[in-house]
């Protein structure tokens, strides 16, 4: 549904093409009274990447985004966009565009005027505005909605208007604050796909905030996992999922979360889908077996979740196994089976600091 008009970003009126910029954050902190919303964050984006800030509510991801936008000023630290220090500059001097969670469409203006607004603030003349608005509207397939007011639009249509308004200026950085959370589940999935394809085509550096780890994994080139104002890990979805830097990342990403078993100072972790009946586990790198007493199973169609305990009765630890739905092995609650994990799927964490202690991918 996102159709691009003929031509690329450079087409419109000979104006310089939207440059693809890098965003650098140097020791950024934000304090609200005693609360450290963002605590010494260092981060560099890669040009043209789709970077996701992921974390639970209150972790500082939205505050960080707002500081990049310029609507929130950092308590300390610097922000650079395209090698230029922009800390202290108002948003209109940063060549960024932002889509808010509520879309923030101007309710008293038509869709056309909404999209035209960022151009009018720059003093672009009317003819050029018309061309650009139609181009942006065409990009998102909303040409027929130009005369409507926001209250006459559905959630998905409003989202596209917000995106068109953001893109019409061809910004160097594109900021999105949970723009899909107001959409129903079905629409959210298709909007996710369209958003990603759109970003790939246009190639603008994008920073996207979400608390939904499925969304983050699906959209991000790289994911920044945050908690309590600090960055826990930056990496590709594969790195985050298979080599979490600490127990927070291990348990936040992945549903159900990584199983963590404690022995002395070390926690042993393995993902539910690696915890299988012993006969099915690949023995090439060695296996660790566990007697697994099943307490509960959930049949979810595509997969089966088996909940139970490993270890002695008094030291029983709760673990989850994820079996593919196609695996029809009968599993009964109350019985104990021999389950195993391949050694290459084990991760080790220091109990006190939570940090992963093993070496990482070979």
């Amino acid at each position: 549904m996102f159709e691009s008009s003929a031509g690329t970003i450079t087409e419109t009126d000979g104006e310089e093409a939207g440059t693809v910029a890098r965003v650098e954050l140097r020791a950024i902190s934000k304090r609200f009274g005693d609360v450290r919303a963002v605590d010494h964050v260092d981060l560099d984006t890669v040009e043209g990447e789709f970077l996701v800030l992921l974390g639970p509510s209150g972790c500082g991801k939205t505050t960080l985004l707002r500081m990049v936008a310029g609507i929130e000023e950092p308590t300390s630290g610097d922000i650079l966009i395209d090698e230029r220090v922009v800390t202290g500059l108002p948003p209109r001097m940063r060549n960024i565009a932002m889509v808010f969670q509520s879309y923030a469409l101007y309710p008293h203006m038509t869709v056309y005027k909404n999209i035209a607004f960022p151009l009018r603030t720059r003093g672009v003349d009317k003819a050029a505005i018309r061309k650009k608005v139609e181009w942006a509207a065409g990009m998102f397939g909303i040409e027929r909605l130009l005369d409507r007011k926001p209250r006459q639009l559905s959630g998905g249509e409003r989202q596209r208007v917000a995106l068109a308004r953001a893109m019409v200026r061809e910004p160097s950085v594109f900021l999105l604050d949970e723009p899909l959370s107001n959409l129903d589940a079905i629409l959210r999935a298709s909007a996710r796909e369209e958003l990603r394809q759109f970003q790939k085509r246009v190639g603008v550096t994008t920073i996207y905030v979400t608390h939904d780890q499925v969304e983050a994994m699906g959209l991000g080139d790289r994911i920044v996992v945050m908690s309590q104002g600090k960055i826990r890990q930056v990496g590709t979805p594969m790195e985050i999922y298979h080599w979490p830097a600490d127990t927070f990342v291990a348990t936040f990403v992945g549903s159900p979360p990584m199983n963590l078993l404690g022995e002395d100072d070390t926690l042993t972790g393995f993902r539910p889908e690696t915890f299988l009946p012993a006969e099915l586990v690949n023995e090439a790198n060695g296996v660790v077996t566990y007697p697994f007493e099943v307490t509960w199973t959930e049949y979810l169609g595509a997969e089966r979740l088996v909940y139970g305990n490993v270890g002695e009765k008094s030291h029983a630890l709760h673990v989850v196994s994820r079996l593919p739905g196609s695996m029809s092995l009968p599993i009964e609650t109350g019985r104990t089976y021999t389950f195993a994990v391949s050694r290459s799927d084990l991760r080790f964490f220091d109990r006190k600091s939570g940090l992963r202690t093993d070496r990482g991918p070979a």
Binding site: P91, R92, I96, F100, S102, R165, R169
Partner: protein, 308 residues
């Protein structure tokens, strides 16, 4: 035999609704509708306070008052005072409301002081102003003299020792307008505050990100979105000022030489003090079409003031 449960009056919502509204309807009919009908009848008769018999004489009273220059002046003054005072109220209350949107030390005190005029009974408040605008003892004049703006030859406001706030027609009109502003400001401020706080914060942030300067944000976002509620404040103030008797009556009695006479005071002077009830009724009815129009506009504005 089955027992049919009988619904009590509490469960008959239709009947109950009628019963609950009845007192209000009774009140409106008796206290407002009935005097209104009477006023129309009076205006078409020649009734006086001395002779209370009702003899219909057609439109004679209306012809008489339109020919009266004092009536025409009162009509002009009514509109002038109301519109000028309310335009100034809207501007001032917007400034005050914007200031009250922010947090600052002593905000509770500022809020309290702003609301005080509304809490004072209007007659008492106006009497206070009467003393402050006194021709000899006015504290305003004292301050002006102290600042050297008054009382010396070549002073900005003149060589005389007092400004005769209520004695000079232009100053008397200004005084009436000032007291009207003072009285309505609290109400208008509260209404404007409600309007300003109803604008979602991220709309203004989005405008900031879109490149709008604070001035443009005010002009293109804040003002259009608060226009319905500002209109309501304006129309409310208009109604209060159109119908007010107290301010003019206490301050100037309509003087000097009718320069501050308004329809409501002229009605009183003609109809009650002067005894000509019929003419008084006719004068008072002149406001009715204007106020009906204002009320209709207010209802329309109220419907438009959704910010979604």
């Amino acid at each position: 035999m089955e027992q049919v449960a009988k619904a009590g009056i509490r469960d008959q919502s239709g009947l109950l609704a009628k019963l609950m509204i009845a007192p209000a309807i009774l009140y409106v009919t008796a206290m407002i509708g009935f005097p209104f009908i009477l006023a129309i009848l009076y205006s078409l008769s020649d009734i006086t306070t001395g002779d209370p018999t009702l003899r219909l004489v057609g439109m004679r009273n209306f012809r008489d008052i339109l020919a009266d220059s004092v009536f025409r002046l009162s009509l002009k003054n009514t509109f002038f005072f109301a519109i000028v005072s309310q335009v100034l109220v809207i501007l001032l209350s917007r400034v005050v409301a914007t200031a009250l949107m922010k947090e600052f030390r002593g905000k509770w005190l500022a809020r309290f002081l702003i609301m005080l005029p509304w809490t004072a009974p209007i007659a008492l408040g106006t009497i206070g102003w009467l003393w402050m605008l006194d021709s000899i003892f006015s504290p305003f004049d004292w301050v002006f003299r102290w600042l050297g703006l008054l009382g010396t030859p070549g002073a900005l406001l003149g060589p005389q020792t007092n400004l005769y706030w209520l004695g000079v027609p232009s100053l008397a009109m200004a005084s009436v307008i000032i007291v009207h502003i003072w009285r309505i400001l609290p109400l208008a401020t509260v209404i404007q505050l409600a309007g300003l706080s109803s604008i979602p914060k991220d709309l203004l942030e989005a405008a900031e990100v879109d490149g709008a300067t604070p001035w443009r944000r005010t002009l293109e976002i804040t003002i259009p979105l608060t226009l319905p509620i500002v209109s309501i404040a304006f129309l409310f103030g208009l109604v209060f000022t159109f119908t007010d008797v107290t301010v003019v009556y206490v301050l100037t009695r309509g003087g000097p030489v009718h320069s501050t006479q308004v329809l409501s005071t002229w009605t009183f002077f003609k109809g009650i003090e002067g005894g000509d009830l019929a003419q008084g009724a006719a004068i008072s009815l002149f406001l009715f079409p204007v106020l009906a129009g204002v009320a209709a506009m207010m209802l329309r504005m109220a419907r438009k003031s959704e910010v979604v």
